[in-house]
Symmetry: C2
Subunit: 187 residues, 2 copies
C-alpha cells in the first residue's frame, strides 16, 4: 500500500470509529468521508462495504471477547463462565448502536466481512455451553445457535431505550433458564 493510501486508510478508520460510536452501525458513510476530508470514492476503495468498515472498527473488541472466552473455558465453574460470556457479549454489542443487528445479519450472510468474526463468537459460546452441559450445569435442549439467539435478544433489548434498564435483570432471568436443570437449586 502506498504511503498516501495508508494515511487515508488510517484516517478513515479513526473517523469511522468516531462516527459509528456516535450514530451506530447505520451511520452515514458519506458523513465518514466528509469528516475525513476525503472523496466518497476513497472510502469505498478502502472499505468496499459497510461491513468491511465495521469489521475494522470492531476487530479489537471481537478479539478481546474471543480471548476472554478462551480463558473462561479453562475456569473452574462451567456455569459461571457461561454467564460471564453472556455478560461479555452484551457489553461488547452495547458499545455500538445497531451492532447486534449487523452481526445477526452477518451470521446469515457468508459473504459479509463480519461473518467470520460472528461465527467465531458463536463458537466460543457453544464451547462454554457444551462444557456446562457435560457437567450437568446447563439444560441440554439448547445449542450454540440458541445461545447466540438468546444473547442477541438481550443485546437488542439493550439497544431499545424503553428496555435497556431491564437488561441486567433479564439477563439473570435468561441465565437462570439456561442453567436450570432438574435438581439444581434456584439462584
Amino acid at each position: 500500500m502506498r504511503s498516501d493510501a495508508k494515511k487515508n486508510y488510517d484516517l478513515l478508520l479513526e473517523i469511522g470509529r468516531e462516527v459509528v460510536a456516535e450514530q451506530g452501525t447505520e451511520a452515514s458513510l458519506r458523513d465518514v468521508a466528509r469528516r475525513a476530508g476525503v472523496g466518497i470514492g476513497t472510502l469505498y476503495r478502502h472499505f468496499p462495504t459497510r461491513e468491511a468498515l465495521l469489521e475494522a472498527v470492531l476487530r479489537e473488541g471481537f478479539d478481546q471477547v474471543t480471548v476472554r472466552a478462551a480463558e473462561l473455558e479453562k475456569s473452574g465453574s462451567a456455569d459461571e463462565a457461561l454467564v460471564s460470556w453472556l455478560r461479555d457479549m452484551v457489553a461488547l454489542t452495547h458499545r455500538h448502536r445497531g451492532l447486534i443487528a449487523s452481526m445477526t445479519a452477518a451470521i446469515a450472510d457468508e459473504d459479509s466481512a463480519l461473518h467470520a468474526s460472528c461465527v467465531m463468537l458463536r463458537g466460543s459460546g457453544a464451547r462454554l455451553l457444551a462444557r456446562a452441559q457435560e457437567k450437568g450445569r446447563a439444560r441440554r435442549d439448547i445449542d450454540g445457535t440458541d445461545l447466540l439467539a438468546l444473547v442477541s435478544a438481550l443485546a437488542w433489548l439493550n439497544d431499545q431505550p424503553s428496555f435497556a434498564a431491564r437488561v441486567d435483570h433479564l439477563l439473570d432471568v435468561i441465565a437462570n433458564a439456561v442453567l436450570a436443570v432438574p435438581g439444581r437449586a434456584e439462584v
Copy 2:
C-alpha cells in the same frame, strides 16, 4: 370527510396494507403513494406520520389480541393463559417485518400514533402476569414491562432469518423461566 377524500383514504389504507406486508414497517411511503396513483402530499394529508399509517393498518390485529387477552384473563389456567398471550404477541408481530421495532419505539414515544395500542397490549400482558403471580404460578421478580421486553425480544428473533426457526423453542425456554417458581416441576 368529502367523498373523494374518503376514497383516497380507503385506497391508501388498502395499498398501505399491501406494501407493509411486502416491505415491512420501514416500507417506502413514496411507493405507497405511487402504487395508489396518488400524490405524495395526499398520503401525508391522510396519514401525517408513518406511525399513523401503521396504526390504521394494524388496528384490527391489535384489537384481536386485546380481546383474546381479555378472554384469557377469565380462563382456568393462569400460567397457560400467560403462555398463550406470549404466543399471540409473537404471532401478531410476525405478520409484519419491523413491527416489533416500531412498537418498541412507540412505547417510549407518547406522541406516536402507535403509543396507545402498545400501552394497551402491555397492560393485557401485565394483568395476565399479575394473575399468574397471585396464583403462585409465575416468578414475582418481573413486571409488565419485563414481560413485554421478553416477548419483544422473541418477536425480534422472529424477524431475523438466522434465528426465526428457533423462536418456538426459545419461547418455551423463556416461558419456563417466567413460570419457574420454587416447588414447580420442570415441563
